[in-house]
Symmetry: C2
Subunit: 162 residues, 2 copies
């Protein structure tokens, strides 16, 4: 009976491990399907390092003068340096990213964080080395303009800790 | 050996069912913990029917002139009728809700939907009878004002299908 018990015990352990590993995969897939917005359009290599996808939520018009969208940055992807004439508000919906205002240290931002990038201040944002980033942006007062794209963020700048 | 097989089979089935039911519970809890923003402050009964919680994301200032927040409406909760002098943009992050512009039919809105409520148009929004609603709002051009609260949405208006 000792041998029988061992056999039954082994079968249970292997069975539950296999079955529940399967569940884990399904849960992961479901999480991906439940993204709030579609992935969007790949941003041009002239403005981004790595793959960043933009999905526009609110297009510019003369009633609201507010442009809203969602960007999905793959791990390590980031924007070029750029400026907005009326500033930009970032809202992190998922993952982990960096943002930096010129002359200040790089900051880490996480799900739920809200970041203000003031008017005409050079800045960049993107995913960390270990996580993708899903990030909404709000551009107010578009009657003053939208964005001026500048040079790429170098690897040295991206990896900088000060 | 037939009896032995049956016993082993039964043990495996019961074991995997129990084990994976446990996993499901854990996943449910994790989902709840993963809300993007805190629940926020209960809105006053003078402006809402049922429980609606507001979490402010961007307070009003003279640089961005944009007020941003997240509202969690419990099932069947809704705002009063109200107007915004520069309009309002709604972005549904989770669940299912209704919104209505005065003189137009009530509309259903779902996760990922973006709704524009034009300046000075009387409107209301809230959760459906069967689902809570998590909904961001963006108020542009706050130099013109924020909101004027009006009367409650009656049960007849809330349930209307036209």
């Amino acid at each position: 009976m000792k041998t029988l018990s061992k056999i039954i015990g082994s079968i249970i352990i292997v069975s539950t491990l296999l079955h529940c590993a399967g569940d884990k995969d399904t849960a992961g897939d479901a999480g991906h399907e439940q993204s709030i917005f579609p992935k969007g359009q790949l941003g041009p290599a002239t403005n981004f390092t790595g793959n960043a996808y933009n999905f526009e939520l609110v297009s510019d018009d003369s009633t609201y003068n507010t442009l809203v969208g969602n960007v999905y940055f793959e791990t390590s992807a980031r924007s070029n340096w750029h400026v907005h004439p009326s500033g930009q508000i970032l809202i992190v919906l998922d993952g982990e990213g960096y943002h930096q205002l010129e002359g200040q240290p790089k900051q880490t931002m996480r799900k739920g964080d809200v970041i203000k990038c003031p008017p005409n201040v050079r800045h960049w944002h993107g995913a960390t080395e270990n996580s993708s980033l899903t990030q909404m942006y709000i551009l107010p007062k578009t009657e003053n303009g939208i964005v001026t794209w500048l040079e790429a963020v170098t690897d040295e700048q991206y990896k900088s800790t000060h």
